[in-house]
C-alpha cells in the first residue's frame, strides 16, 4: 500500500495497531503488508484514512469499519500503522 499523503505531523502520532485496546478508534496510516493482503483490506473498506473502531484486541483482532467487521490475524495487525483518534 503506498504511503499516504497526509500531514507530516500525523506521522508522529502513528502507532502500531497492536498498541490499541478494545473500544479505541483510529484511522489507518499505512499497511506494511503484501500486495494481496493490502488489496483485500482495501476491498473490505480498510484503506488509508479509513476510520475504524477496535472491537476486540488480541489475536484475532477485530475491527469495525463502518458496518463491516474485519478479523485480522496478529501478523496482519502488526503490519498496520494507525493514527489513534478519540472514540465516538
Amino acid at each position: 500500500m503506498p504511503r499516504p499523503s497526509i500531514h507530516p505531523e500525523e506521522s508522529h502520532r502513528t502507532v502500531n495497531l497492536t498498541q490499541l485496546h478494545a473500544g479505541d478508534c483510529g484511522r489507518l496510516h499505512a499497511a506494511e503488508l503484501g500486495h494481496d493482503d493490502a488489496a483485500i483490506l482495501m476491498a473490505l473498506g480498510l484503506a488509508r484514512r479509513s476510520r475504524f473502531r477496535v472491537s476486540k484486541a488480541g489475536d484475532p483482532w477485530i475491527l469495525e469499519v463502518r458496518s463491516t467487521r474485519i478479523g485480522l490475524a496478529d501478523a496482519v495487525a502488526r503490519g498496520l500503522q494507525v493514527i489513534p483518534e478519540p472514540g465516538s
Binding site: 488489496a39 483485500i40 473502531r53 489475536d59 467487521r69 474485519i70 485480522l72
Partner: protein, 686 residues
Amino acid sequence: MTSAPVALVEPTATVGGASEPKVPLVALIGNPNTGKTTLFNRLCGLRAKTANFPGTTTDARVGRFDLEATGGRVELVDLPGLYRLQLDLPESRVCRDVLEGKAPYRRPDAVVVVIDATNLVRNLYLVGELITYALPTVVALNMTDIARRRGLSIDPARLGELIGCPVVPIVARRGEGVDQLRAAVDGAVGQALRGAPAALPTLRTDRQLPRPDPADFEALDGWAARAFEGSVGGASAVGAAGDSVTARLDQAFTHPVLGTAVFVLVMGGLFWTLFALATVPMDLIEATFEHLGGWVAGVMPPGAIHDLLVDGIIGGIAGTVVFLPQICLLFFLISLLEDTGYLARAAFVMDRILCRFGLPGQAFVPLLSSHACAIPGILSAKLIPDRHDRLATVLVAPFMSCSARLPVYVLLTGLLFAERPFFAGLAFALCYLLGATAALGSAWIARRTFLRGRSRPMVLELPSYKVPSVRTAAYTAYFQGVTFLRKAGTVIVGICVVMWWLSAYPQVAPPGEALQLRAEAAAAASQGTPERAEELRHQADFLEARHAQAQSFAGRLGRTFEPVFAPLGFDWQLTVGVLTSFLAREVFVSTMAVLLVGVDEAEDQGVIQGIRTAVRDDGTRVFTPATAASLLVFFVLAMQCLPTLAVTRREAGGLGWAGLQLVYMTTLAWLAAFVTFHGLHWLGVA
C-alpha cells in the same frame, strides 16, 4: 475438469442444441455473505447445473428461470462471491472475464448485483465498478429486514436514482421481493434484447451521482458513501456496525481458550451427527445394491457378463454411491455452519495451530472431514481462497485416517494385540495420530519446497451471526451430491470395473486337489454325513478361491511386485492385498479373508484366527508382529484410494498433482513401514 455450462461459453451458446434460439444470459454477482446463493436457489430451484469455469477450479452454477420479456426463460450464472472486480484474485479474474465476454465466455445480457442492506457502503464499491461495464444492471438490496431491525431505513427508489440502476428490496431467505426483482430483471433483459444502446446504466436521472473511477479507491469510497447517505437520510446514519450480539459472541468464539472449547464442541457435534445419521442411508444403499446384485445374479445365466454386471458394475457403483450420504450430509452441515457465520470465527481459532505448518485456518474443515472420507474433505477445500494453501490442504488431506481404514486398523491391531484390548486401542489411537502428524509434517515440507511460502495471514470479513437457511443447505447438499456422482462417480466406477477384472481374470480350472475334495464331499453326502460333506466343500471352496486369486492378473501382479514389498516383510499374498486395496482400502480385509481363509467375510473370530495362523509358501506365518506393524504403518500412510486420486486430479487442476500425491504418500508409507519392520527386528520383535 474444465467443462463449462453450455450457456456460459461461446460459440455453443445455446441450450439443448444448435437449432434452439439463443437464451438470454444474466449474471448474478455480489460480495460474499450477501445471500447471493440463497437468491439463486430462490430463482432457479433445482433447475441448475454445476460445472467449472473453463480453465479454473472455480465452481460455476447456471440455472434457468422464466421471464415475460423473453417470452420464455433466461439462463442465470452464479458468479463467485467477490469484494472488488479490480483485485488480482481468481474469483475477480473470472468475474471480469465473464462481464467482458472474454473468450471463451459469452458476455451476459444483464447483471443482477446482490448487496447487503446492513453493509451498504462496502457493497456499493462493487456496484460502482460494475456500472462501468455498461450492462443493464439491477440491484437486489437483500437483508432489508435485518437493516430495519437495526433502525436503518433505506429508500430503494432514492438509492436507485443516485446510482443509476433500479434497486429492488428483497429478503431472499423468505422470498420477499423476489417477484418484483424478477420483473426488474425482465425489464433489463428486455432492454438488452431490444438492442438499447450499450451506454447504460439502466436508469438515467438528474440526481444520479457522477460515475466514480473504479481504480481510485477514495473516489469509489466517496461515491458509495454519498449514495448511502443520500438514501438513508444523512451522514448521521453512517458508521454504526449496530450488532451488539455479534460483538459479544465474537469475544467468546475467538477467545484462545473458550473459543477452542466451543470449536471442539461444535466440530465434535458435527462429526457425531455425520457418523450417526449417515449410517442409516449408507446401510440402506448397501442393502439395496446387495438385493439388486442378488436379483441380477438370479435372472442371468452364469458367465462373464453375469460377473461383470454383478461384481464389476453393480459392485463398483455400490462402492461409490455408498459415500453419497456422508458427502451430502457433510456439505449440508457445513453449509448450515457457514450460514450462521461461525465458520469464519472457527478459522481464526484453528489458524493459531495450522499456520505453524504452513496451512491456513480454513484448512480445518477439509482435514476434519477427511476423517470421514478424504473425498468430501478434498471437495470442501474450495473454502480456502489462496491456491497454494488450497493445494497443500488437498495433497495432505488423505493422510487423515478415513472410515475406510477402520476395518484394516481393526484387523491389524487385533492381530498385533490379541487378548490385549488396551494395547490394541492404544495402537488404534496411534494410527490416527500418525496420520495427522504425517499430514501436518508434509504440509510443512510442501510449503518450504514446491509450494513455497507461508500460509497467508488471515484477513476475513466476520459476517453477522444469523439463523441458517435449511433450504440453502439442502440445495448445497443436493448440488454437491450430484457433482460427486456425475464427475467422480464415472471415473470411480470405471476404475472399479478394471480392478474387478484384474482380480477375476483369467478364469482358471479348479486345482486337482479341490476336485478331489468335491468328489469326497459328494461321497460323504451320499453316505449320510452331511456335516463332513459341508466341511469338505468348504475346503474345496477355499482352495479354488486361493488358486483363482493366485492365477488372476492381480495374483500374478502380486508375485511380480513381491520383491518391492519383501523388504517390508510382505509375501505375495500380502502384496496382492496391498495391490487390490488400491481400489479402496477396506478391500484388503476381504482379500485377506478370501486368500488366506477362503471366505468373503472376516468378521467372526474363526476367520480372524485363520488369518492369524495363515502360512506363507515356505510354511512360516504370514502375519508376524513385525509384519503386522509394518503393514499397519503402510496402511496409515499409503495413498490407497483411487477414487480420492480422481477427485484430487479434478480439484487440484491436473493429473500431475494426483500423481505427486500417489508417489509421495506411497514412498513415505514404504519407508515408514521399512523402518518399522526392521526396527522391530532389531529390537528382537520378529
